[in-house]
C-alpha cells in the first residue's frame, strides 16, 4: 500500500493545487506536486497514490554503494567465496 515509485519531473504547473507531469521509465503521468513545493523540472520524486511525497537526494542515494567501503568490509568477496 505504501508503494512509492521514483520518477523524473517533466513539467510543473503552479496554481491552487501545484501539479505536474512525472516520467516513470516510458510512462508519463499527471501528479500532484503540492507536497513538494521545492521540486523542479529534472528532479526525481517519489510518487505515492498520485502525490509526489519526497524529492530524491542524489548524494544520499549513492551512499548505499559506498557504505560497505566506509565501514571497511572487504571488497574482494565476490571473487573469493568464503570457506
Amino acid at each position: 500500500m505504501c508503494l512509492g515509485i521514483p520518477g523524473e519531473v517533466r513539467s510543473v504547473t503552479e496554481g491552487e493545487l501545484r501539479s505536474g507531469t512525472v516520467a516513470f521509465g516510458g510512462i508519463v503521468k499527471e501528479v500532484c506536486l503540492a507536497y513538494v513545493p521545492e521540486a523542479q523540472v529534472g528532479d526525481y520524486v517519489v510518487v505515492h497514490a498520485g502525490f509526489a511525497i519526497s524529492v530524491i537526494d542524489a548524494a544520499a542515494a549513492a551512499r548505499v554503494f559506498s557504505y560497505l567501503d566506509e565501514i571497511g568490509a572487504t571488497a574482494e568477496i565476490d571473487d573469493e567465496p568464503p570457506g
Binding site: M1, C2, G4, F24, Y35, F51, V64, L68, D78
Partner: protein
C-alpha cells in the same frame, strides 16, 4: 528505471550478505514493519540469504490487513446504496467482511470503482454531481496526506457529494504494541521508509530508548533492505539502541512539513481497532468535526455497523510476529488467495499472500 534498478545489483548484494554474516554473531530477530518490505524480502529471497541465526518477522504494516472487519462491512453497506459510487484502491475489494466482500457488491450491480488516487475519486464527484462519491480512505501515514488533500480540495471546490470512509492507522503505536506484549520476540526494527518520508524519524526515538530496541528507517529495494539489516545487526552487536536512517535519499529527519500541515488541518488522532490485534490507543486518524460533511460514516449513518471475524483465521498472530504463515493450519488449504479467510491472504502485501505466491510452503 533510475533509483530502482541499481538497488538490485547482485554483486553489491553479495557483499552486503557477507558483511551481515560477519556481524550476526548471535541469534537475533528483526521485524520489517511495512508490507511492501515483506513483499520484497520474500520476492527476492532475502530471508534465505541471511545466516540461520538471523530471523526476519513480518510486521503489521499492511493497511489492507489491519482494517477491521467492521469497516469492511460499513464499506459494503455504503457500496450497496443505489446513490453511491464507491471508490477504493484495488486491494480492498477482495478483503472478506462478515458476509461478503466489495467485489461481490460490484458483481451484484453496485457502483464500485477502483482508483489509483483519491484525486481520481474527486474528479468523479466533479463530473457526476448527481452521485454521492465515497472514497475508502485506508492506509498509513504515507497515504493519509493524499486523502487529506482530496477533502481539502472537495471543500475548496464546493464538492459536497464527495466523502471519505476513513480507516487511517498510524505505525509507531502498532510498533509499541508489538514491543509491549508479553510474547515480545523482536530485537530490532526495520521501520517503514515511506511512512517516515511524511512523519520524519523523531517519533521513534522514545520507542528505541524505552524498549532498548534499534530502529533503522529502511527503504524497499533489495540493497536498501540488506543495508538496513546490516545497520540493525551492527547496533545489536555493539549494544546500541538508536534510530538510524538507511533511506536518507527520501527521508528527511523532520519529514514532509507541507504534508504534516494538511494532516493536522484535516485529521485528529483517535483510538483505532486493528484487525487481528484489537484497539490501540491514539493509533489512527479520523476527520475533524470541521470536515464532518465529508465524513461518509456520519453522513450515511453506517458508523454503528459491526462485524464478525472467521474464528479459524490467525492473522492477528501473524501480524504481531508470533506465527509464520506456513505454520497456520489453514494456510494453503482452507485459506488461499482465491478463498481467503483473512486479509493477510488477500493483499499483495499481506505476509500470507506473499508466502503463498512465492511458494514458501516448507521454509518457516
Amino acid at each position: 528505471m533510475k533509483f530502482l534498478d541499481e538497488y538490485r545489483d547482485q554483486a553489491t548484494a553479495r557483499r552486503y550478505v557477507e558483511a551481515i554474516r560477519a556481524r550476526a554473531t548471535r541469534p537475533w530477530t528483526l521485524m520489517e514493519v511495512c508490507g511492501g518490505q515483506t513483499h520484497a524480502i520474500v520476492r527476492f529471497g532475502i530471508d534465505e540469504l541471511l545466516p540461520p541465526s538471523l530471523t526476519l518477522l513480518h510486521g503489521p504494516g499492511c493497511p489492507v490487513c489491519v482494517t477491521p472487519v467492521e469497516l469492511i462491512d460499513q464499506a459494503i453497506a455504503l457500496a450497496a446504496r443505489p446513490e453511491v459510487t464507491f471508490c477504493s484502491f484495488g486491494d480492498m475489494l477482495r478483503v472478506p467482511g462478515s458476509e461478503c466482500d466489495l467485489l461481490a457488491v460490484k458483481a451484484a450491480g453496485g457502483d464500485v470503482r477502483v482508483v489509483y488516487s483519491p484525486l481520481d475519486a474527486l474528479a468523479l464527484a466533479a463530473r457526476h454531481p448527481e452521485r454521492e462519491v465515497v472514497f475508502f480512505a485506508v492506509g498509513f501515514e504515507t497515504t493519509a496526506p493524499a486523502n487529506a488533500m482530496a477533502v481539502v480540495e472537495a471543500r475548496r471546490r464546493g464538492l459536497g457529494n464527495f466523502s471519505l470512509l476513513v480507516s487511517h492507522v498510524l505505525v509507531p503505536p502498532a510498533m509499541e504494541a508489538v514491543l509491549a506484549g508479553p510474547e515480545r520476540r523482536v530485537d530490532g526494527f526495520l521501520a517503514a521508509g515511506h511512512v517516515c518520508v511524511i512523519m520524519g524519524i523523531d517519533d521513534y526515538r522514545p520507542l528505541a530508548a524505552r524498549y532498548r530496541v534499534p530502529i533503522v528507517v529502511t527503504g524497499f529495494e533489495p540493497l536498501d533492505l540488506l543495508q538496513g539489516i546490516h545497520m540493525c545487526v551492527t547496533q545489536l552487536a555493539e549494544g546500541r539502541a538508536e534510530v538510524e536512517n538507511q533511506y536518507a535519499r527520501s527521508v528527511r529527519r523532520a519529514g514532509n512539513a507541507a504534508a504534516q500541515a494538511v494532516l493536522r488541518e484535516v485529521f485528529e488522532v483517535v483510538p483505532r481497532t486493528w484487525r487481528g490485534i484489537g484497539e490501540i490507543p491514539a493509533s489512527g486518524f479520523a476527520l475533524r468535526t470541521a470536515y464532518a460533511q465529508h465524513d461518509a460514516a456520519r453522513k450515511f449513518g453506517v458508523g454503528g455497523i459491526g462485524g464478525r471475524e472467521d474464528p479459524a483465521c490467525q492473522s492477528g498472530r501473524v501480524l504481531r510476529g508470533l506465527l509464520k504463515p506456513p505454520d497456520c493450519p489453514a494456510f494453503g488449504i482452507r485459506c488461499t488467495p482465491e478463498t481467503p479467510l483473512g486479509a493477510t491472504m488477500v493483499s499483495s502485501e499481506g505476509a500470507c499472500a506473499a508466502y503463498f505466491r512465492y511458494r514458501r510452503f516448507a521454509t518457516a
